[in-house]
Amino acid sequence: MERGKTLILSIVVLLVLTGVASATVCCEKTTGGAWCQNAESESDCATGINPVTGAEYRTVETLCDLTGSDFCKLGTCIDDEEGACSSTAYLICTAAKGTWKDAAEADVEQCQLGCCLIGSQASFITETRCLNVMSILYPNVNIEYKSSINNELVCLASANLEDEGACVYTSESIVTCAFETKEECQTRAKNSAYSDVSFHKDYLCTAEDLKTNCAKTKETACDDSYNVRFVDSCGNFANIYDSSVDDSYWTTVQSPDCSDGEGNKDSATCGDCDYISGSMCKETETGDTVDYGNYICNDLDCNSYTGSYNGSDTGYATGTDYPRHGETWCASDSLTSDKDAPGATYYRLACYNGEVTPEACDSTRQKVCSEAIIDETSDFREANCVTNIWQDCTFQNTSEDCLDTSLRDCVWLDKTEYNGYYFTENGLKNETSSTYEGMCVPLYKPGFSSTDDSTTDNCGYSSSICYVKMEKGLTDKAWECLNEWSNNNCSCIDDADGNYDGGVTWAKSLNPICTQLGDCGVKNNSNNFEGYYTDYSDLIILTNRSGDENATA
């Protein structure tokens, strides 16, 4: 959070420094169809009649945040029917026939959450949602709202777990049974189609003492919690599937005592599945083996995946090292060793339900993927796309500021490794008198847009000027650089052998610095196509003694 605050301040400073254009008007609707948006000029705002209000679309010369509570001011929009709240502008809310409040959601009474007890279930929702919506969704269930409970965990813990058991009854002269709640059984007792109704808490319908027509079977099915359960001959759920049990397991409600590895994945003997651990009840397929029934705790790990995976030594998932259900990890689409090559994108990959889904972080690496091992024992990974804070790297003059990871993502380059060069407002310099000790560059090299001037602007920080004094006599044809002149930079225009090359060798020597800034300089792109120099003709600019360009002498 601290980093976030400082970051916003840094961005503001950067924006001032770079002199960017900003919003000047608030459009009720933009020409693109978006509502309540800031824009640079009135021409970006829609004209015509708003079909909802019947009035002309308005444009106000201020930011939307600063407009009044009859326009685009942000507030809380309440859905009176659903009891749902969301933060949006007045005009948008009222157009949708919502009730708008000039307050934050946390300060609106109707948006406060409480505990809704729906039969044996509990849900942490608003009062309106509890009393209006839930009564429609569950018409025959007792519903109670407790506003005093303002903690979700406390709410869930306060659920009235209703008694469940065997409801024995006679129907058409047959003594049969249904496994249900006590309340459901009492309702059944009021039905004239049934007689001799009795409830037996925690008993299964197959209990011999109950003498019903429901018998134990070898059949199973998936329950609402995605466990595999035995099913009796009357179609009632019994206890969780465990192939090792005896008849007593068919008498009363019992927790399973079976265990066949983490989450009982693909277990032939145990149906106690665990979604978080990576298993879920599913009908058996070819190759699945179960002792009884046709359902199994299906293994949700991505064991058939063979793509990029950092949990494997090879960098790719194998038959033994593969992503687990719920695991997320980082990858890059760069075909070179440079993950920040031009065109490269970081990805966050996720394994859920046996399937790997990719999520691109940002096509110009303004967001990059960050990964950590959250469980050393199992080597379980978690990854996220995080903002790449590279923007103020080149403004840092000390390694301490540069490497402050709470503020930015930069790396320090010692100037001794880069011919004494350092960044200045006027580009690269390497004056020996300078106190600069190095250069601060982005840790994750950002990409720049190919559709505007951003590449030129951003790479410009590594531009450099080398002044060379040249001499030409009245009758000489060529200019000549004389090393004997003090502080002359003939090396800037000569190759390694001292022959004039128009600055090509010098320019190439700066490429390692240039490439550190982002999609700058000459380097291979993400498809491993080699970069190349296009034109050297503008390397040399003639100036006069005062440094004015286009001089002839």
């Binding site: 960017v20 949708a96 940002d362 303004q366 951003s454 982002g518």
Partner: protein, 263 residues
């Protein structure tokens, strides 16, 4: 081989071909007129509720399919193109660095209205066709149109048409004052998740789809980056393949140093 044998076989082949043509023709005829034939054979005819359900069900389903792929609107306005669908931004900002502004705060109600408006003409047409159908069968039909309502509910969409219908034939009078068409569909659940993602985008800038997959095993939630900052969220029910997708643009960071704060 005797001449007579050859001639007999040729005759048999001709008969077989004729029989085959007759069988194929009969199958085609039965297939084409099956509902009418069934009705004639069984003596059953659809009651008005069944008639309306059959008549309008497909239109409701089509409307749901269309708007589910377009962010909840039949004719979306502020959109991004993804997989040949113009997908509406449910949360949007033109600016860099800022969180988005929710564009459809009452999404469920908006979708109910969209479905209602999309099927409205078809509903009227269905009732007119039903009136005509019963009149042809000798009924005296009194039909009075009423309001229409569409409700998204868990696992179903209920369309209620408060049309009053009176069918009279001889002494028999049947009165109907409301017609319900139920479509089994889990759009309610998908829209609820969409609403949660939109609130997350508006509050924090970027929703984490894996959270939803952790809490809802039956759902697959994906975030697709279309271009820098423009995202499409796709929520799919694994068992049925039903999906709802929408776009968002929130907390976008420009490529390089920005020359403008607005895209």
């Amino acid at each position: 081989m005797k001449r007579g044998e050859f001639s007999d076989k040729r005759g048999q082949v001709t008969i077989f071909i004729i029989i085959a043509i007759i069988i194929v023709s009969l199958v085609l005829l039965i297939y084409s007129f099956y509902p009418q034939i069934k009705s004639t054979l069984t003596g059953q005819e659809k009651n008005p509720s069944e008639y309306i359900q059959t008549c309008i069900e497909e239109d409701i389903s089509d409307a749901v399919d269309t708007l589910s792929l377009q962010g909840g609107s039949i004719s979306p306005e502020n959109t991004v193109l993804y997989n040949n669908s113009n997908i509406e931004y449910l949360c949007y900002t033109t600016e860099y660095y800022r969180n988005c502004m929710i564009q459809q705060p009452l999404l469920k109600r908006h979708i109910e209205t969209e479905i209602k408006e999309e099927i409205s003409d078809e509903v009227d047409a269905c009732f007119s066709a039903m009136k005509e159908s019963y009149e042809k069968k000798g009924y005296t039909v009194k039909l009075k149109s009423g309001d229409k309502k569409v409700q998204l509910l868990p696992n179903r969409i209920i369309s209620t048409f408060n049309y009053s219908l009176s069918l009279t034939k001889g002494e028999s009078v049947e009165d109907y004052d409301s017609f319900n068409v139920i479509l089994n569909n889990n759009l309610y659940e998908l829209v609820a998740i969409a609403g949660s993602i939109i609130n997350w985008e508006a509050t924090y800038g970027d929703a984490d789809v894996t959270t939803y997959m952790t809490y809802y095993p039956e759902l697959k939630a994906e975030k697709k980056l279309i271009s820098s900052g423009n995202k499409v969220y796709v929520i799919t029910e694994r068992e049925t393949g039903n999906r709802f997708q929408f776009a968002s643009r929130s907390q976008v960071w420009p490529a390089g140093y920005p020359t403008s704060l607005i895209i």
